[in-house]
């Protein structure tokens, strides 16, 4: 064993400096993914076969290729693209890169929420002469979104753990700070352990919270299930 506590306490304040960047990047890219996810869901609902096919495969492409490469693409390649290319700061690149990657996952969450709303709800809205906008705002979304909250919470935690990828393009989050410290002192052990501890300390309570939320939601929907069956002739 070759552990040095003085190194640990020396490195701690240095590494923690990056914590705000890591957290800020997490929320920024999460917000980006939430908004972009809406766009995917919207595009996929346009009743046009070729467009549908295209969107499906673009999403599949983004989802099944490494976010690290996408990050490099946006940071190194995007400025070189003739015409539309522009230089983005490492932080912005990371928001866009991680945000776009996870927006395809978030979009699936929205989709599952929307599909869980029964067909009867659409028909009832039509019978009440609601406009399309009213139907979405007053009937569909209020029922579609709440069940997705635990899943969306899960993605926030997943993205938090994906954010250190941005250290590879120079975003000075905690991993970057630890690597800097390690390179400076020729010792990575304590600094990297601090990063691991920080991630664990922040993501574990969040995960427990989401699990609690999930259980609560499940109980609520189970109750609805039972009520529905009681009304019918099945039982």
């Amino acid at each position: 064993m070759n552990w040095k506590w003085d190194m640990f306490f020396d490195a701690f304040p240095f590494v923690v400096q990056g914590l705000w960047i890591t957290i800020a990047l997490t929320f920024a890219s999460y917000l980006f993914a939430l908004l972009f996810g809406f766009m995917w869901t919207f595009l996929k609902r346009i009743p046009n076969k070729p467009l549908n096919w295209l969107v499906t495969w673009v999403m599949e492409f983004i989802r099944s290729t490494p976010p690290l490469v996408q990050l490099f693409f946006i940071f190194y390649a995007w400025p070189m693209v003739p015409g539309i290319g522009m230089t983005l700061s490492p932080f912005t690149s990371a928001i866009v890169g991680i945000g776009i990657h996870y927006s395809t996952y978030i979009s699936e969450v929205y989709r599952s929420g929307i599909e869980s709303v029964g067909k009867g709800q659409w028909e009832a809205s039509r019978a009440l002469n609601f406009t399309r906008w009213q139907t979405w705002r007053k009937v569909i979304l209020p029922q579609a979104l709440p069940p997705t909250i635990p899943m969306l919470g899960n993605y926030l935690i997943i993205m938090f753990k994906e954010v250190p990828l941005a250290s590879t393009i120079g975003v000075t989050g905690i991993l970057h700070m630890a690597n800097t410290y390690g390179a400076h002192h020729f010792r990575y052990l304590e600094a990297l352990t601090i990063v691991a501890i920080l991630f664990l300390v922040l993501s574990y309570p969040a995960a427990v919270l989401v699990r609690k939320l999930e259980e609560k939601m499940n109980r609520r929907f189970d109750k609805n299930e039972i009520l529905k069956e009681d009304k019918g002739v099945v039982m």
């Binding site: 990575y188 352990t193 691991a196 664990l200």
Partner: protein, 222 residues
């Protein structure tokens, strides 16, 4: 100014494919192995085993893969004054311990999801615990695991790109090398890398869809 085209980039990236596939296959095998071991561990009758596997799962799910990878590569040799061995070992170890932890939850969840009546019936037939698991529970549970296992295979493929950061010569590594000498070609290089990964992912995507079909087929409960 040296002008390079797709035809020049292609063979360079091709050199990395074998390393990527090697890491993918090894990581997948070990991930599944660890997933089953940890999944059963969580369901063990022994409290100690249950707590220990729970601890392992929370540690690896609570920290990010890239941190684990760096930890295995840079920190472990320092901690124990040993050489872990190659980059390959550090990479495969980090990826499989990480995804093994995630997939163990699927193993556990699927085993629990098998209807209670099945276990009761097996007990009524005087099967031992091991027989119940092997003959009754697992055949039904594995089928439920398949779609998620397929999804995680794609995740593992994506994760293999991280090994370029510890100096393994995979697709991304060769691409990065090429980019450092031909900055203007960055769009072509990275787009082609993405296409390479997508082509590798395609069979896995179809495999996952097939797995979804299999898991749905002939299941009585809705």
């Amino acid at each position: 100014m040296i002008d390079i085209s797709i035809l020049d980039v292609f063979p360079v990236l091709l050199k990395g494919v074998s390393v990527t596939i090697q890491v993918l296959v090894l990581s997948a095998i070990f991930s599944y192995l660890i997933a089953f071991i940890a999944g059963f561990g969580r369901l063990s009758k022994n409290v100690l085993v249950r707590k220990f596997t729970g601890f392992y799962i929370e540690i690896f799910r609570g920290t990010s893969l890239i941190v684990q990878l760096f930890w295995f590569y840079y920190a472990i040799p320092m901690l124990f004054n040993v050489q872990v061995g190659s980059e390959l070992m550090a990479g495969v170890l980090a990826i499989s311990l990480n995804y093994g932890a995630y997939m163990s939850e699927i193993v556990r969840g699927s085993i629990i999801a098998v209807d209670k009546g099945q276990r009761e019936a097996a007990t009524a037939l005087n099967m031992t615990r091991f027989q119940q698991m092997r003959l009754v529970i697992l055949p039904q549970a594995v089928r439920m695991m398949l779609p998620e296992f397929g999804n995680y295979l794609i995740q593992i493929l994506k994760a293999t790109s991280l090994v370029s950061l510890i100096g393994m010569t995979d697709i991304l590594y060769h691409g990065n090398m090429l980019r450092s000498t031909n900055i203007a070609m960055a769009p072509t290089i990275y787009l082609l890398i993405l296409v390479f990964y997508f082509i590798l992912a395609l069979p896995l995507i179809f495999l996952t869809r097939k797995a979804e079909d299999i898991s749905k087929k002939g299941v009585a409960s809705s």
